[in-house]
């Protein structure tokens, strides 16, 4: 008799747990990788927002930047697990679209974070940095900092075909006031956003054009590598390095004088807005839509007239990583 009561109690508790879990809103977050500090911060932001909204966060990531198959699997798993909304930073902006279509057809809200899909309207909404604007800001800053001196520019880019790299590069050119192929661009090499590869690329560019005085870099690790190469060649004082990202280490590098200015972006904000939109959809059926610019701020300790910026104190308070 007693055993029966215990079993009944256990069953009731399980049922209650299931019911409780079924009531919880599930939001999924799929990042490109697990280890890039940018995505680590995004996940932290999503965790915090989910807790505040009373929702459950499921998270997953690809194994490496470009791991499309891993992200497809993650979408499928999350839809099966009953996620009402999925936030994704797509690794392959075209190839992920069919999976996103399927998820949306199943009634799931899909929001792209940080990187737009191709086409952009394949997702319900996009919360991202305007990467083009990020490039424009540092281009304008570099132009103002050069104060009319003839510029010899090196661009340390990402890798062929990746939209983020292309947008920032093109934005820099626009902000600086030059077109692609301009004679003042003396060297362009890919770095894959990697520190050591940035160092090698900068060394080779310096061999080609020893009088480089402006360096555009795709992100702060590449900038640090470029600085290392300039330092080894004894040229670090006369060269202006600008970058994008606004990670805490990058902002500290501005304080150290390694990077002159960086465009700071806000992964935390992207995640927060994403989770909030997902929970709102689950509760009210209201879908988020369109593009929301999560903001980009120029961070520098040497402000230039005509280019709005904030200092590193602000940068450190708002940084990620």
């Amino acid at each position: 008799m007693k055993a029966k009561k215990v079993v009944l109690l256990c069953l009731l508790m399980c049922a209650a747990a299931f019911a409780y879990a079924a009531d919880q809103i599930v939001v999924g977050l799929i990042t490109k990788t697990e280890t890039n500090p940018f995505f680590v911060k995004m996940k932290q932001g999503a965790d915090a927002a989910a807790k505040a909204d009373g929702a459950t966060l499921m998270s997953a990531a690809g194994k490496f930047d470009g791991d499309n198959a891993g992200q497809i699997t993650a979408i499928e798993n999350m839809v099966t697990a009953g996620a009402k909304a999925i936030l994704i930073t797509p690794s392959d902006t075209k190839a992920i679209v069919p999976s996103i279509k399927k998820a949306r057809a199943a009634g799931v809200l899909v929001i792209a974070l940080d990187t737009p899909t191709d086409p952009q309207d394949a997702t319900d909404a996009l919360f991202a940095t305007d990467n083009f604007k990020a490039g424009v800001l540092i281009g304008q800053y570099a132009k103002a900092a050069m104060a009319g001196k003839p510029a010899r520019i090196a661009t340390m880019d990402l890798a062929p075909g990746i939209t983020v790299g292309q947008l920032r590069h093109d934005g820099f050119l626009k902000g600086f006031g030059i077109k692609a192929g301009d004679a003042s661009i003396v060297c362009s090499q890919d770095t894959q956003g990697d520190r050591a590869k940035g160092q090698t690329a900068m060394e080779n560019c310096l061999q080609k054009a020893p009088n480089i005085n402006v360096v555009y870099t795709i992100n702060e690790p590449a900038a640090a590598g470029a600085y290392q190469a300039l330092k080894a060649a004894g040229k670090e004082k006369g060269v202006l390095i600008v970058s994008v990202d606004g990670g805490c280490e990058g902002v500290r590098n501005i304080q150290a004088g390694v990077i002159a200015a960086t465009s700071q972006q806000y992964p935390l904000k992207m995640a927060q807005l994403g989770v909030d939109a997902g929970v709102a959809y689950a509760k009210t059926g209201k879908k988020a839509s369109g593009y929301t610019d999560t903001g980009v701020t120029l961070i520098t300790d040497k402000p230039m007239k005509g280019v709005e910026s904030k200092d590193t104190k602000f940068g450190l308070s708002a940084c990620w990583g």
Partner: protein
């Protein structure tokens, strides 16, 4: 494999050719010479002592990793975990020195030890549990990567003690600055070349790759040797970690992610067969230099980076095709 012709003691040209290795092994050197000549004509900045010193510095880390990779590939194995083991070693040695305030030499030793441990793990799993090298090193690649990220919290380690940066220091030969690290790399290649060519254990490495069963029957302690080779490879990755730290000035947990494929490319371009049993360690150095020269030369010419990748891919196919064709003839 170089065939020793019988002592047909005819001096002069014939005797000379009989003692030289077959033409196939000159392939990589010829390719390097062609590349250098081409770039020398394309840019007047290429043929400078300082430029060559730079190329050596740029291939230094992958070049050293490729020594370990060559040893492994000679036994018909493969090591996909090399880059990650190196990154783990670099994080351990830098964090121990900076965060724990450990004596830098002791910290370096700890870094080397963790790399040796992973090498030993690879060797043991492959030899005693008899798992395929591809799978084992795929697993240890991920384990080493994860440990690196967790321990470093994905942050780079800066503010390193001077002792750790020694191999980045330079000395002058005439007008050219040469780093101690590149000298170490060249010495390691010479050492490896000597051991593989002139010592019994070295020749046994080739035997293991050619025919492990025959090697065992010959009395070579095959299993012990195989574990030893992976362990030594681990030590070599540890030394590469120290060189990486000296070159970049930081402990970077994101480093080394493409080093496995880059080192395999250097080994293949150098004429070593992926099927084991044949190849020259100096060929690997030439292979690494070919990659470095092409990258440097194309940058000097202003050619976009994507073409470096294209040319490397074409060269790899050519190298493997040459190897296959010379195998068929033999």
């Amino acid at each position: 494999m170089s065939t020793q012709t019988a002592a047909t003691a005819s001096p002069g040209l014939r005797g000379l050719f009989a003692h030289m290795p077959p033409v196939a092994t000159f392939g990589p050197f010829i390719a390097l010479a062609i590349a250098c000549t081409f770039f020398a004509f394309q840019s007047d900045r290429f043929l400078a002592g300082q430029n060559f010193s730079l190329i050596l510095q740029q291939v230094m880390v992958v070049g050293v990793v490729a020594i370990g990779q060559t040893l492994v590939i000679l036994t018909a194995g493969i090591d996909l975990s090399c880059g990650m083991i190196m990154a783990l070693g670099s994080i351990v040695m830098t964090k121990f020195a900076v965060d724990l305030g450990m004596n830098p030499y002791l910290a370096i030793l700890c870094g080397l030890l963790i790399c040796v441990a992973f090498g030993f793990l690879n060797g043991s799993l492959i030899t005693y549990v008899r798992l395929p090298p591809f799978i084992v090193t795929l697993g240890t690649l991920n384990i080493a990567f994860a440990i690196t990220q967790i321990y470093s919290k994905s942050q780079t380690v800066a503010g390193l003690p001077d002792a750790m940066l020694f191999f980045g220091n330079t000395f002058k030969i005439g007008d050219t600055s040469v780093t101690y690290g590149t000298v170490l790399m060249l010495l390691m290649y010479l050492g490896a070349w000597f051991v593989l060519r002139e010592t019994a254990p070295g020749r046994h490495v080739y035997a293991l790759g050619n025919n492990p069963e025959a090697a065992r029957l010959m009395g070579i302690p095959a299993r012990r040797m195989l574990v030893g080779i992976y362990t030594i490879a681990g030590l070599i990755y540890g030394i590469a970690a120290l060189l990486l730290v000296a070159r970049t000035n930081v402990g970077d947990p994101q480093a080394g992610q493409t080093d496995n494929l880059e080192s395999i490319t250097a080994v293949v371009l150098g004429g070593t067969s992926l099927f084991g049993g044949r190849g020259m360690i100096l060929g690997t150095l030439i292979g690494a230099l070919i990659i470095g020269v092409i990258r440097n030369g194309l940058t000097l010419m202003g050619v976009p980076s994507v073409y470096q990748i294209l040319i490397t891919g074409i060269l790899v196919i050519l190298a493997v095709a040459t190897d296959q064709m010379s195998r068929r003839k033999a």
